[in-house]
Symmetry: C2
Subunit: 227 residues, 2 copies
C-alpha cells in the first residue's frame, strides 16, 4: 500500500522557491482505484513522480508496502520502480528512435524476460489498446493519441502491482478514452492498485475516491458514489 | 482564406502505406472560427500540418489567400508560415533549453522586432495565459498545462492572421481551458481566422462550424447553433 506523511517538494530556481507540494498526507490501500484532480500547476505530477520513485521529496515520508522509500539509494529505488510500478507519463516520454513495440518491451527487460516472450507480450499489450496496425511505427510516425496509447501499453505490459497514470486520456477522443478506462478497470478487478491524475470528471467517476489538489495541498477528499 | 481541394496525404513506411488524408476538400473564409473533431488517428494533425505549411500533401491543392502553396519552395513556405500563421502544436514542441519567455519570443525574431520590444510582447502574451510567475522557467520546470499555455502564448504573440491550434486545451483543467477559449474568441472578434482541433465538445461549441473526420476523410460538416 501507499502511505505519504507530511510530504513536501520545493523547487529552487535561482533565488526563487516554488512550493510544488506542501505537507501532503494520504493513504491508498492495496487494490484501491483513486483519482487526483486539480488546477494546472497544483502539484499533481510532482506527487506522481515521488510516488513513482522518479523524484525525491524535499521533506516528509513515503512508504511503499511498509518500505521507507526515502531511505533507499538510487539503485534500490530503480529496482522498486521497475518491479512494482507501471507509469503513464503526462508527456508520454517514449524513446524517439525505436518502434512502438520496442518501446513497450522496455519494462520487460528488467524482469529478465527472453526476447521472443518480450515481443509477444508487447504485441499483446498494443493489441489491448487497439494499436496492432501501428506496432512498428516510430513515435514521430504516430498521432498524439496513438503515442499516448503506446505509453499506456508500456505501463501495463509487465503486470505491475501499481499503476500510476498521469492524465492517461488527455490526448484521446471519447471512445478511445472509454476503452482505456475499461482496461484500467479490468486491471483493478485483477487486484492492481491504480492512481490516475485527470482533468476529466467522467474519468474520475470510475474511481473510488478523488483527492482534490490546489496550490500544492489536498483541499478535500471526495468519496465517489453512484459508480 | 483557406481552400483545400482534393487533398491527400499518404505515408510510406517501408512497404506499408498509411492513407492519413483521402481527398479532403474544405473552405474557411477569412475571419471564421471552425473546429475539427474525430477519433484518434483520423488525420486531424496531418491536415493541420499541411495547413500550417509544415508538411506537403501527396496530391491535391492548398490555396492560402489565393496563393497556391503547393507551388512554393521551402524558403517561401517558411516565410508564409512565419508571417501569417500562429501554430499551437499537439505536443507543444518547445525548445527545451530556453526559458518560457525566450520560447514565446521566437516568432517575433522573423518580424525583425527589436530585443526590448520582443521581451515586452512575450511577457504580455504570457500574462494573457496566466503564466507571469513562470516566465523564466524552462519547459522541464513547468507542469504539462503550463507548457501548453506557453505554446499558446507563442502562437498569439506575433498577431498572426491565422491561428491553427491542435488540441490547445488537452492538458488543461476546465478553468484554464475556458480561459484559453476566451483568448481565442477575443482574437476571433479582432478578425483572426481560427481553426482548432479538439476532442472536447465543449470547446467545439464555441466555434461556427465543425468538420467531423474519420479515417482520413470528412464524414460530415456540422453548423454550430445556439452559440
Ligand atoms: N510519419 C508518419 N508515417 C506513417 N504514418 C503516420 C505518420 N504520421 C502519422 N501517421 C499515421 O497517420 C494517421 C493520422 O495521424 P494524425 O496525427 O493526423 O491523427 P490525429 O487525427 O491527429 O490523431 P490524434 O487525435 O490521436 O492526435 C495515424 O494513424 C498515424 O499513425
Ligand atoms: N523542476 C522544476 N523547477 C521549478 N518549478 C517546477 C519544476 N517542476 C514543476 N515546477 C512547478 O511546480 C508546480 C507544480 O507542477 P506539477 O507538474 O506538479 O503541476 P500539475 O498539477 O501536474 O499541473 P498540470 O495539470 O498542468 O499538469 C508548477 O507550478 C510548476 O511550474
Ligand atoms: Mg501535470
Ligand atoms: Mg493529432
Amino acid at each position: 500500500m501507499i502511505r505519504v506523511t507530511n510530504l513536501s517538494k520545493i523547487y529552487q530556481t535561482g533565488s526563487i522557491e516554488v512550493r510544488a507540494l506542501l505537507n501532503i498526507s494520504l493513504e491508498v490501500v492495496t487494490g484501491e482505484f483513486v483519482a487526483i484532480m486539480g488546477p494546472s500547476g497544483s502539484g499533481k505530477s510532482t506527487l506522481m513522480n515521488v510516488l513513482g520513485c522518479l523524484d525525491r521529496p524535499t521533506s516528509g515520508c513515503y512508504q511503499l508496502d511498509n518500505l521507507a522509500v526515502s531511505t533507499l539509494d538510487d539503485k534500490e529505488l530503480a529496482t522498486i520502480r521497475n518491479r512494482k510500478i507501471g507509469f503513464v507519463f503526462q508527456t508520454f516520454n517514449l524513446l524517439g528512435r525505436t518502434s512502438a513495440v520496442a518501446n513497450v518491451e522496455v519494462p520487460l527487460m528488467y524482469g529478465g524476460v527472453n526476447r521472443k516472450a518480450r515481443r509477444q507480450r508487447a504485441l499483446e499489450a498494443l493489441a489491448k489498446v487497439g494499436l496492432s496496425p501501428r506496432a512498428f511505427h516510430k513515435p514521430n510516425e504516430l498521432s498524439g493519441g496513438e503515442r499516448q496509447r503506446v505509453a499506456i501499453a508500456r505501463a501495463i505490459v509487465s503486470n505491475p502491482a501499481i499503476i500510476l497514470a498521469d492524465e492517461p486520456t488527455g490526448a484521446l477522443d471519447t471512445k478511445s478514452g472509454t476503452e482505456v478506462m475499461a482496461i484500467l478497470e479490468g486491471l483493478h478487478q485483477q487486484g492492481l492498485t491504480i492512481i490516475v491524475v485527470t482533468h476529466d470528471r467522467e474519468i474520475a467517476n470510475h474511481t473510488q475516491r478523488i483527492y482534490h489538489f490546489r496550490d500544492g495541498e489536498i483541499q478535500y477528499i471526495e468519496e465517489v458514489k453512484n459508480r
